[in-house]
Structure formats: C-alpha cells, structure tokens
Symmetry: D2
Subunit: 365 residues, 4 copies
C-alpha cells in the first residue's frame, strides 16, 4: 500500500524535502465539514522550529487547498493540500553522495531504490514530509472536535527532563496550544529548553517522549483483531520519522504489574459504565471502552549531529568519517507533537467512518 494509509478514510503523501512542492490527499472524509485555513496554518506553525531550539531552515509553509473544499466545507471529494518548499538549498548534496549518515535512511534508501532515490535532504524520508500530514490532519482534528472528540499531545519527556502527567484532561489539553515546549509544567519546559540548547552547543541532539490523550471517543470503536485501535494507531504513529516506541495505557509498566493492579475496576456513573483507573489506556480487546485514549510515543534523538561519526561510503565501499554541516534540529520531539495529533485524528476518522459510515463526521443539509 506504500504511501496510502487507511481503509474508509485514507491519506496519501507525495513530495520530497527538496522538491518544489509537497502534499497530501485526504480521501473519504464526510461532506460538510468546515475547513478553516487558520486551523491548518496554526497546526503547521506548531510544527515549525522555534527560534532557539530548532533548525535554521525556516519554511513559511505556504499552503493551498487544491481540491475537496467548496464554499468553506468539505465536499466529500479527495481533499488535497499542497505546501511550497521555499527554503531548499540545492548546492551541497552531491559532495556527500554515498556517505551514509548514521541513523538516517541514506543506506537503506540506496538498498531499496538502487541509487535512483532523490538523496537531497533526505528526499521522501525527510521529516519535512510530516508537514502535509499535519495540514490534512488539521481538517480531521476539526471534524472530530465537532463530535466532541478532542486530542492533546504533550511532550512527556525531553531526555531525562520529565513533564508532569496529564491531570485534568480537558484543562490540560486546552492549555497545550500555548504551552512552552508543549509541556504542561513550565519549570520542566524551561529545563527542557536548556537541555536542548546544551546538546546543540555540544553538537549533539536529544530524544524525548510524547504522550497523547483523546477525550470523547465513544465506546465500541475498533476491530477485535488485526485492526484493533492499538494496531491502527501504532501503524501510523510508527510512520512518523524518528518514532521507535509506542505504548498504550500503562504500556511497558505492565511488565511489572500484577493483574490486580493492572485491571481497571469499573463502576456505574450517571448510567454509564466507567473505569476507575485507566491502565488500559481506553482500549480493551482492541476496542475503545469510552475512557480517554492514552498512549506514549518514544522519539529518538535527531540523527543529524555535528560530531564526527564513523560511517561508510556505500558507493565506493570504503570506510569514512562524516562531519555534518548544514541546518539541523537538536531535538524534534516537540515539533512532532502536531504530527502525533494529526495522525491520531486521521486514524480515528478512519475507524469512526468504518464504524458509523462515511457521513458520520459531516453535517447534513
């Protein structure tokens, strides 16, 4: 299936880091969903590097909605958003050609594409490809919000600096768009900023962790086996470059829990069964249980660092030392936040459309 994700609602990506344009096609969204370019612009802005903790490549992310929207609302036809690549530098890639940057896809792309790959700036493997995903994801986020389904992702950790956990979900999620570093705890955010700048100063980079909550998802969504909520979400979360771990609810903490600690006791509340804890992260048997979805995503440190690295030239078959120059992020975990929101929204739209039909997320005339 390659570059298309989803069954009822699908997203297809195209473009490369140094092409003229990149884009995404979102198919199967219900008709009648309001599309506000300000939503898209705001989501793209959250993805852009910040002044002191990000790459010096500055992309204004000028986008246009090419299809699928008419008179301010989705038509039900494929919705394509195209973003300009403005700030590409085309000069210096040939001199590196053949040098595998450790942790990057240079060598694997070469093995897959036999040297025909566009190697400039990572080509289709670039983190830049998450921009169109964020753009169409903003449409999905808006559609879900109209149904009372709200998504929030905070930076749960940068290196060993930890954010506080979610507490009051509604309030915490509402605070996230303006939260420094995407963290709930301002002190932790400041520590994270210092840590990133310190790593950058050392020519190095740092990893981090995201935690996402989804409030308002009805119980009964997801499929029992191969298309469990966890399967579908992890599939698209692991598509995000640099993601190397995904866990739901207590996740890897389940390893050391007893069943009596891991099970979420249930009680009736206002006529609805609820769980008193949420160790299962809102999913039992692959299907949503009406509690908030909760999952964590491990993001590896940016592989682009300025320290000299041992590597190979896969064209010449010789050992080499790599000394990167150019513009790179010392951390991407905070920039990955809107990407996590976007892919979560897209996957949930797909599951909801499968469950309730292609009209579910739209409005009727």
């Amino acid at each position: 299936m390659k570059n298309t994700f989803g069954n009822s609602v699908t997203v297809t990506l195209f473009g490369e880091s140094h092409g003229s344009e990149i884009g995404a096609v979102l198919c199967g969204m219900a008709p009648g969903i309001p599309v506000d370019e300000a939503d898209i612009a705001a989501a793209l802005a959250r993805r852009r590097p910040t002044a002191d903790t990000g790459t010096a490549r500055r992309e204004p992310d000028r986008f246009r909605v090419v299809s699928g929207v008419f008179q301010g609302r989705t038509t039900g036809a494929p919705l394509c958003i195209i973003i300009q690549n403005d700030n590409t530098r085309r000069n210096d890639y040939d001199s590196w050609r053949g040098l595998a940057r450790p942790g990057h896809a240079d060598y694997t792309a070469y093995m897959k594409y036999h040297g025909f790959e566009d190697y400039r700036g990572g080509g289709q493997f670039s983190g830049r490809m998450t921009a169109p995903l964020v753009a169409v994801g903003a449409v999905a986020v808006r559609a879900l919000a109209a149904k009372g389904i709200v998504i929030g992702t905070h930076v749960a950790a940068v290196g060993n600096v930890k954010d506080r956990p979610f507490e009051d979900l509604a309030a915490d999620i509402a605070a996230l768009p303006t939260a420094p570093m995407g963290m709930l705890d301002e002190v932790a955010a400041e520590q994270a900023r210092v840590l990133i700048k310190s790593a950058a100063a050392a020519g190095d980079s740092v990893g981090g962790m995201l935690e996402t909550a989804v409030v308002g998802l009805p119980a009964g969504v997801g499929e029992p086996f191969f298309d469990s909520v966890e399967s579908v979400l992890s599939h698209i979360l692991f598509s995000i470059p640099a993601v190397k771990g995904v866990s739901f609810g207590a996740g890897f903490d389940f390893v050391t829990l007893r069943g009596s600690q891991a099970n979420d006791a249930m009680r009736m509340q206002n006529g609805t069964p609820i769980a008193l804890t949420n160790k299962n992260g809102g999913v039992c048997g692959g299907i949503s249980n009406g509690m908030p979805l909760l999952f964590r995503v491990a993001v590896k440190p940016t592989p682009s660092i300025y320290k000299p690295q041992q590597t190979v030239n896969f064209l010449t078959g010789e050992n080499a030392t790599l000394q990167l120059t150019g513009r790179h992020d010392p951390a991407v975990v905070h920039r990955a936040r809107p990407v996590a929101d976007a892919v979560t929204a897209l996957a949930l739209c797909d599951l909801l459309a499968l469950r309730y039909g292609t009209d579910y997320l739209g409005e009727k005339t």
Copy 2:
C-alpha cells in the same frame, strides 16, 4: 479490513473460543514451500500451557491442513488450517452474562456488537484465537528459514525477573525451542516460574516482556512512510491479545539518549556496510538495514484473576462484584512467544513478497 492482515501475503482468522473449530487462511504464499505438519505441531505445542504455570484448560490442538498444500508443498492457493476446539465448557457463561470482567473485552464487545456477540469464553477475543495464527505462522517461519531468515523470541522479563539480553544471536535463537520458560538464563527462568506460581497462589497474575530478533533479513525491505517495517510489525503485534507496548531497538531508552549515543556507527565488513551497534533495531527510515531486527513487546498480566473485583453489570446497569472461577493462566507472556514468532514471520513474508514478488519465498521446479 477487519480480520484480514497483509497486502501481498494475507492472513484471515475465524472462530471463537467455544465454537467447534477455529482456523486461519493464509493467502499469497509462494508455491513450492515445504509444509511439515511437525513444524506446525511443534509451534502449537510451544503455545500450550505448561503443567504448573498455565491454565488447566488442556487443548490438544488437533489440526488439519484443509487447502493450499499438495504433495507436501504449498500450491500457491489459499492455505487453510483448522484446529478443533475439544475442551470447551459450555455450562457457566450465562450466569455471568452482563458482568464486565475488568481488563477484558466483555463491555467493549457489547458496545460494538449490541449484545449479539458470542460471550462464551471471550468469543473471538479469546487468546485461543492465536492458535491458528501460530499454525499458519509455522509455514511462514519455515519459508523464511529456507531463505536464511531466522526468528527468535525470548521472554525478556516476567514481572521484575529479567532474562539476560541476546548475545550470540545464532546460538541463542537455536537454544530457544527448548529453553525453560523461553528464557536464555536458566536461573531467571526458575525465578520466573516461582514468581508465576506465587502469583497464581495469590489468585493473581503477572505481566512480562518479549524480545524478538530476526537474523538474515536483507537490507532494503519495507516502505518509507506508512508501511515502514515498524508500522507493519507493530500493527500485527498489537493484534495479539494483551500486548500494550511495542518498541524497536533502543525503544523507549532513546528518550534519554543523545544522538551521539543513539546513532549506529557504520563500517565496511567483508564488502558490506554494517552497523557497529544496533540501537535502531535493524530499521532506518522504515527500511531494513541488514542488521538483525530487534524489538520488544509488553504483555499485560492476564486479566483473569481470582481476587474479587469491582465491576458493573452492563445489562442491568448496576454495580457488581466479580469473583471469577474457572481455568485461567496466571501469566501468558511465555505462551505468547510462538505467537510473536508467527506474526513476525507473516508480516515479513508480506513485506518480502511485496519487494521481491510472490515467487520469492518458494522454490522453482
């Protein structure tokens, strides 16, 4: 897509815990692969509960290969394996009907299927449904082995008892079929056994962690974005009941690593680029790099425990206390080992067939 996984090579499951038969259909496997019923029987045996650490439900797992095999080899037609359910008890489920077992799918199934679900023994949500997956997976495991691709899963942890990590992969994987508790360290295995029995004696259960290695996968397999190796593997791994976390290579340890620690330096070795470490778990940019695949899976404690639990009756809308009886595993992590092998093999066959064509895994006349 529901109960079918895969694009080029697909697997479809059917059956319920208390039906007469359960089965799996494997489509798209190359023709000419030897099918040895002893392989299938051995894999099923590894999945069965052991005398002192498992459920008292004893299933002989009598199976038959119904289609897709002729004269001892795959024909290329859909390969269906059916397993008898022999040891079902049909008497006591109606008395529990409506009581949501915490951590189980009773309530979510009810919300999805409106009360029409087969609630006996978990129905299609039962861990029993992994048996046919293991059976067809054994065919995939054999096909991969003929190409020099070998899969091994050890129990990396049971509760806080940790196995030693993989060292000599070839030797460790070869030792696994007869390893006690599926652990590489015999002392840890004994401690794990004691822990499980102790939890069982307390009417409780324990979680654990699996670690899987795949040796021999060529570089250049997987897709760059939505069908990355990590995406495809995590999708099917999260399909396994009780799995709540999946990570590749350093996984969640990446959170606290610097880029200079996380990047795998490369060198030429016998004319081939290799990585000196394997923090990326054999995958860069979603594509295999020729190093062993390495990933970990968190398995939650069996939700079936004998301690009284607070819950609800979702049919009557009343609070209730649940006191389980019956036959349950105090731990499933070691029984999940052949399931992890099976789904890994199935996912890799799919990715390899996509890459190299539907004949790749077979033999030519």
Copy 3:
C-alpha cells in the same frame, strides 16, 4: 489481495475441487442478522446441477457454520461456512498431467505456480469454489432483504435462446426461485433445456447470459471514481469462473444509441426523483440513483467438452490431442445464477457498510 474481496465487508475463499473441505470467511457483517441454514441450503441447491442438464458429479453440499453465528444471528465476528467435498474422484488426474485443457486454467496455473498447483479437477480454479461463495452470499442476501433490497438473476439467454426481459420486477424476482432453468419464459426455458441436451449429446457445450436486477438500493451508494458501483460489481462478477463480459443498463447497446436515446429523463414521483427509463442501469457517475440496478453477464460455454481437441503437453513440450472423459456440465449459465446473486449481495453489503457503517445491515437490541 488475492483471495479476499471487499473493504468493509470482506469475503475470503479457501479450498480446492478435490480437497476434503472448501469454505469461505465473511468478515465485517453487522451483528444481529438472522442466519437461517435453510436459506443457505436453498441457495446451494439452486447451484447444484439438475438431473438432465448437468454434470453427473453429485455433491450434497453438506455445510456447517463454523463461526460468527450465535443463537441464530450473526455476532459480528468472522462468519465461516465450510462445505464437505464428498464426491471426489482421485484416480485419473495423473494420467492427464501436463495436458492443457483448452479454455481451462491448466497451463496458466502451471505458469503461475511452477507445477506446484493442485491439478486435480481444476484445483482452486474449479467452479466448485463458487459453492462456499453462494453459502456466505445467502447470509448477505438475507441481510439485504431485511432492508428491502432484493436481488434477482434470470438466465437471459442460453445460446441463441433468449428469455423475455424483466417486466414487473417484484413479481419476476419472486417467481425466479422456482422458474425452470431460471428463465422467466417457460417456452424459452424448455427450448434452452433442449438446446443444452442437444449440445451434450454432441459432446459439446453452450454459453449463455445472465441478467440481474436489484430493487430497493437507496440512491447515493458507491464511490465516484475507482470504487464506482460498476467497478466493484464487475470486479467480483469477473471473479466467477467463465464470466467474460459485464455490462450495466443498456451496456453494449449504448454504442449505437444517441445521447437523446441514452439519457434517462427524470420526473418527480411521490416526492422522489425517478428516471422514466433505466438505460443507465441504476448508476450515474458510479453512484446508485435509486432506480433498480440492472446488469448483464456473459458466461462462456463450459470448456470441458468431449470432442477431441488440439492441445499441448506443457510438461513435455509436445503437441497432443485431448479426449476428455469424466463428468462435466454441458452448460453452467443456469448454475451461475445463485453465484451472481451471491456476489452481488456481497458487493452491495460492502458498499452499504462503507456508506452507512458496519451496523447498518444488522438489528439493534
């Protein structure tokens, strides 16, 4: 995708002509649909050869519903039906091995499967594989009927004997289950029977045409481009062995029509727009328009004939003359009728589930 069809509702086939069992797995059907084994038996009976115009192979089509049904209704879990192969003859296939029967799949299967294919009785290419399709299709037919969507297929032609066209659709469809030869006109039916017997006496076979009508399908179903109603239906109709043509509405008659003749004028009727004619066969722009679906299917003559035929032995690479013996149908068009009904029902269930959600066809508690 191989042996699975569909997106929201899927069907997977397994088995071979001379295996012990054949079957189908139907996934994604809504919960709560009544499943009556008499429906299934009746549909299978319509597919069986009749005394004087069919093969001497007599299959009682003993079937069992293995999963997905509980207390007489679908559960929402995969529904598997398995049929016994009782009347297989295993003795005489090896002597023919290598001889390509003209019009059959012997040579193409060999080129695809390199000689590993099960060549006995056509293996997975046998028309026998339509039996499980008819069985699960009967569940789909019943589900649609509960929504007022009724399917009927008549034998529109056998050789140059033509049935009368559909007139009063409701009455005609109601009459079909007991119509001789599946034809609306009794005289034509008798002529067709004579024609088939005459061809059989000459060691030959005859082709035919089916015409299917679907009443009650709501307007607005289908996708505008790649998954148009015509695309989805033709896809599964061409899966039926021996089908070589599919057309909708006026079909190939459109070639010689003018637009003024081809366009269906519209009028309001009881508050709903209707078409005064139905040249478009109920589909405009790929989407249903609320008029009856109407399509025709060309079925080629059974390739198994008793006349000597020029062919090759693809194992030895020599020319050969084939003189078939054994039990073969002189016509299959009338036996294909329930198959057309079944695949139409399955495809429509898929399109309806996509449009209205996976609960649409079921009942709520």
Copy 4:
C-alpha cells in the same frame, strides 16, 4: 478505498473540473524508469478534443511532475503530476443548481454528498479527471514498453460505424498514435467523423466502443479468483466516466458459441505453447496465458446534449425542462482511448509488481 486504485502500484486522484489544479499520485512504481515529459504531453494531447468533433473548451493541459522523479528517472517515491485548469468558466453554474442533467451525476452526487458537492462542471465527476490519469499512465506505459509490453486501443465503433478488427497487432498498434479518430480503417474514420458532426449539428451525441490489445504480457500474471486479470482491469475500466460495458476476448459473443468454437486450441510454437485462436482474450482462469490481452469497452453517448430534456430540480422537488448550453463533446469515445491505455497500463503494472516484485519494471544500477 475511494480514490485510490491498486495494491502494489497505486494511483490516487484529486481535483475537480473547476478547481485550480487537478492531479494524480502514482505510488509503488519501480525506481529507475525513464520519465519523459514528451510522453506525458503526447498522451495528454491524444486526450484533448479535436477541432471539429470536440468540445470548445480548450485546455492546454500544462502539467508539472511534482515528485518521484530525479535526474529524469523514477526514484521509487510517490510520483505526483499536477495539471493546471486554465479554461474554467465560473459564472453560470449557480443558475442551474438543482437541475439534474439526465445521464450525469448531479442527482447521485447530491444524494451522496448532501448538497456539499462541488457542482461546477461536474466537479470530481467530470471527464476532466481523466487527464491526470492519462499523465501518470504515460509513465506506466513507458515502463511496460521497456519490458516489451505494448498497449494499443482503437475506436472499434462510433455509433453504427465499425472499424476493422485488429489484424497485425504490432503494426496496428504502431499506427494508432497517428490514426485518424483512433481508427485503423481510414474510411471508417471519415464516416465516424461525419457521424459525430451530424449528431452535433442535431444537438445530440453518439456512443462508441473501444478495443484494446496488449502484446507481450508474460503468461502467469493475475490471481485465480478475486483479483483475476479480468476483475482488476474491469474494475479500473469501469472507473472511466461513461464506460458501461467491458468484455474480454469473444465477450458477449460467447453467449451463442459452442464450447468447441469457444475453446482456443493450442500448439507448440518455438518451444512455447500458444493458442491458435484467442477467444479467451489472453486470460484463462483469471491468469494471463501469454497470448495478447484483448478486451472491449462500451462508451455511452455524452449525456450533455442540446435538446430539451425532461428532468427534476432536486432542490425544489419540481419537474423541470433542461436546455443545456455551454461547451460539450458530441462524442467522447475517441478521447477515451488514451484513458483506456493509461488505466490498462496502471493495472498491469500493479499485477506485474505483485507477481515479480516492486523492482521488476525498473532498471538496476
């Protein structure tokens, strides 16, 4: 799946008749295929209306290859081609809003999209959407040609004017690019032109038939049941607007043939089995047999005619008379020729990639 077609090689469309741009994303094509913009331009030119037999809307079809091509060859990444819509008229659609044009998708789109559809010029239902399909199809055509697989489509009929059948396939296909009206017989071409002009003068339109041949496809391609060559090709052929019938080989002529006439006798020729006739159109059992693929496509008359038509206003629920103005084709069958070539090429690339792997159509370094 909506607006994506294919499994291994996929194509996704986006855009509307009156949007600023329309496009297609082709994923899964092998790396290393030469991409020549002249090929694309030539294919688009064949699709454009001709001076005297086509719509007055003149689109220069200015296109750009946005991604997936580097240094003149495919990279293996998604290949996106975007075409400008230059000649749109935005003024007059609102006055018609609600009037269902008979034979068009106005009413069905309204029923599917609840009035949110972009109704200008047919929106996504416009024949204009075939332009990007032709553009990416040209890449597929070129890739196949490099493997010796050549596709040719002639206009087999316009109304009751028939072209001669294919004779010498290689020569006939070579002659097609410059053949008048896309017909092999020049006299028939002139008669067709007269017929179309005569229909246009009468404010009417005419239907037609295409016949496509594919030479060089190896034997053994296609899947035995649901993804037969016929299923996959018909699926995408019926996606083309105005196509209402598809048949393979003798097609609907099989209805009146005997088996002894319908079976293609076989002989050895230069060590390869061939068929002496090609009634089966190159496909037996759903799998290619090495003979040329042959199929026919019925194209209905353009529904846009200038005669007054009875219709309804589905917004007001009133009967109405429609008097179309604007720019419309009196026939589209000849313009559909490059579309048939394109979708045939795309479908075959998908089947070949599934069979032989994603590298098959490319070149190695």
